[in-house]
Structure formats: structure tokens, C-alpha cells
Subunit: 109 residues, 2 copies
DNA sequence: ACCGGTACATAGTAACGCTGAATAGTCCCC
DNA sequence: GGGGACTATTCAGCGTTACTATGTACCGGT
């Protein structure tokens, strides 16, 4: 992955994953696959798992451990109220940054 | 500054500053003031100077040391060809990320 | 018994922005 | 002429994040 993209993902990847989970619950492997399909083909597995553990410890998601018919048991994550609040905050921050940068792009002064 | 914003700035602040410099040359203190006026009131001075040193070492900007009538000599930065190329790459990466996230925001699947 | 695919975990590294402080020069007012 | 305000740069140390690389575990097919 380009270094620039890597750095830009910092702070946004978490929002991306939370936004995903706001649609439906999912487990780590599934999330990784999803990301790889939609524009982030080089996302490392380790990155996603680390992120999930982080948001779990912060209480933004609930975890349900369900046995799988192929492989070790899955940890299914779902967004809870704290996570939804955090996601809203993410959208606000993102919109703010986006506006600032869009202004920069157009009218240079 | 909110932690979320801090993290989101990683990777974008550099682009923001390069975009600034594409309009006109400037020195560190001036850039900091400019940022504070336009939506980033809490930017730390140290952050800007560190960033400038970084882009200088990467050869993205040219530096001109000019004496000031008030205070120590200024280091005036201007974007060079390498910097312009890097800036274009920044815009590409940014647009890419923006599209992905915008899709996420609307059609949740 | 082996291998590939599924699923999760972790240690170590590098990059980035922030905090807080130090240093230095100029100007102005008391 | 001493102290404060403003201009201007630099640096050490910190926390957070994503990546790399590796390891563990479970299953099915051959």
C-alpha cells in the first residue's frame, strides 16, 4: 500500500469499520474480506484484528462468540450505543475535514 | 483538539501544507497562523515546523533563509517540482479515500 | 497424514501529530 | 533599561495508529 494511503487511513479506518458494523454485525475475517473487495485490497489482517480489539476494549462494540463449521470460533462484532455515538462523531469530524480540504482545493488564496 | 481529528490529520496535514505552498511561498510561523485562521485553530507550532523539516528532507520544497525585521531569520519554503508531483499524488489518494467513504455513508449494504 | 482455506492473535517497527519547553531576536511601554 | 509581547525556530519525549511477520487453531478433501 502506498505510504500516503497508509497514513491517511490513520483515524479513518476505525470509522470505516464502525460504519460497516452499523449496517450489520460481522466477524473479523469477514470485515477484512469486505474491505478488500471495496477499495482497500491491501488491508492487512493483523490491522483489522488489532482495530477490533481496540474498539472492543473501548466499549464501542459488543462481541458474540459463535462456533464456526470451518475454523476456530468466530467473534461476531456488533455496534452498540457507544459505538453509534462514536460513529456520529466520526462523521462530523470527517465532514469538517472534508470541507476544509475541499476549500483548499478550489479557491487558493 | 479532539483525538479523532488528531488522528485524521495524520497523512492529510502534509497535503494541506503542500497545497498551501502551491499557492505561494511562506515561512513556518506564517503557515501556522494561516492554518489557525482557516479551520485548524489548535494546530501546534511544533507540528508545523516538524512537518516542514520533513518535507524539506524529502526534497519536496526549496528553502530560502531571509532576515526578518522582527525576530530571527525566516525560513521561507516554496514548492518545487518534486513537491508538486507529491501534491498531485496526495489529491489522487484523497479523492480515492473520499469516494470510498462517501459510498459507505450512503448506500449501506 | 498432509495441505489449503478459514479465523484469530501478537510482538515489533515506523510514521505522525501533540505537549512542553528552550532559545533568540525585535519592538514598545513604563 | 527592564519587563513583557510578538515573531520565529528547534527539540525531546509521548501516545496512537497501521504494517510486517509470525504463530495458533480448526476443518475438509485428497
Amino acid at each position: 500500500m502506498g505510504k500516503q494511503e497508509t497514513e491517511m487511513l490513520k483515524g479513518t479506518l476505525e470509522g470505516i469499520v464502525l460504519a460497516l458494523l452499523s449496517g450489520r454485525s460481522a466477524h473479523g475475517y469477514e470485515i477484512t474480506a469486505w474491505l478488500r473487495e471495496r477499495g482497500f485490497p491491501d488491508i492487512a489482517e493483523g490491522t483489522v484484528y488489532a482495530l477490533l480489539i481496540r474498539v472492543e476494549q473501548r466499549g464501542l462494540v459488543d462481541v458474540d462468540k459463535v462456533p464456526s463449521d470451518k475454523g476456530p470460533p468466530r467473534k461476531v462484532y456488533s455496534l452498540n450505543d457507544g459505538g453509534r455515538a462514536h460513529l456520529e462523531e466520526f462523521w462530523r469530524t470527517w465532514s469538517f475535514l472534508q470541507e476544509r480540504i475541499e476549500q483548499l482545493r478550489e479557491g487558493d488564496s
